[in-house]
């Protein structure tokens, strides 16, 4: 189990008692994408999923799937925001992932040095 997942388990976050067939499929999809090492190519899809749902499995609280994807998404998004010349465009493009990262990095109490510093004052295009 990953370090972050170990950190997540003891937090008193209610997990859904059981997953629907659709949630199982979505969980399988993101597990597969992470294991294949393909998340960088599917960030748009992740952003779309998080546009319509607070968390990946459309649950009201984060699940293991969120934590497992977050672990890989965080460095990717950090890299994208560091290397971009147009920070507004990058924020605009991945705004839903950023919202989700903002929440999870605090929930998991990541040390400040490891967190993504989010600029809340940027005015984003609609």
């Amino acid at each position: 189990m990953s370090e972050l997942l170990e950190k997540f388990k003891p937090l008193s976050v209610d997990q859904p008692a059981s997953l629907s067939r659709e949630q199982e499929a979505v969980a399988a999809q993101w597990k597969s994408i992470v294991l294949k090492g393909n998340l960088a190519n599917d960030l748009d899809e992740l952003n779309l999923r998080l546009r319509d749902n607070a968390f990946i499995l459309a649950s009201t609280q984060p699940t293991d799937t969120d934590v497992e994807v977050f672990e890989v998404a965080l460095p990717l998004i950090k890299e994208l925001t560091f290397s971009t010349k147009d920070i507004k465009a990058t924020y605009g493009k991945y705004r839903h992932i950023l919202r989700w990262i903002d929440y999870l990095q605090r929930l998991l109490s990541l040390p400040e040095s490891e967190q993504l510093k989010i600029n809340y004052d940027l005015e984003l295009p609609h």
Binding site: K31, S32, L35, K36, N38
Partner: protein, 163 residues
């Protein structure tokens, strides 16, 4: 409302990637549980599965699991190997032949031990990924494939007209 499914027709992809994606979809159609009607949608950009407004999947491993309603074995060594060692090869160009052969041999020796029915989604995924990389080695090991797999392979061949 029926479930819409679309094949991988994206151009310029690695051949092994398209083959494994489309094989998983034809296998899903062959092995589908009878819970819902599945319609192949020729218009959609694939690979993709859509079930009303509720669900859209773009990953063929998840599509196969959803259609079969089989989510077992995702934490097994076999599944990890099938994805992180075999499927990850599809993304890359210029992989040394020996490396691919070594990965395929390891799959055949350690995981793809039998194709006896009933086959799990995990085993079908291992099969599709191994076959897509080196069909001839899989054929050599299994002189006789289960009928559903043979049918899926045939359906898959029809999808990709030779250029």
């Amino acid at each position: 409302m029926s479930v819409q499914i679309a094949f991988d027709k994206v151009k310029g992809r690695q051949q092994a990637l398209s083959l494994s994606n489309n094989l998983k979809i034809t296998l899903a159609l062959e092995y589908a549980s009878k819970d819902f009607k599945i319609a192949v949608n020729e218009e959609l950009e694939g690979p993709q599965l859509i079930n009303g407004d509720n669900l859209r999947l773009i990953d063929t491993d998840a599509i196969l699991r959803y259609i079969l309603n089989d989510f077992e074995g995702q934490r097994s060594d076999e599944y990890h190997y099938a994805l992180s060692s075999l499927e990850s090869l599809f993304q890359k160009n210029d992989i040394p032949e020996q490396h691919v052969e070594a990965c395929v041999s390891k799959s055949l020796d350690n995981y793809l031990l039998s194709l006896e029915e009933p086959l799990s989604a995990t085993r079908l995924i291992t099969f599709a990924n191994t076959y897509a990389l080196r069909p001839e080695l899989v054929q050599k090991k299994f002189s006789e494939l289960p009928k559903k797999i043979t049918d899926a392979l045939q359906a898959c061949k029809k999808l990709s007209p030779r250029s």
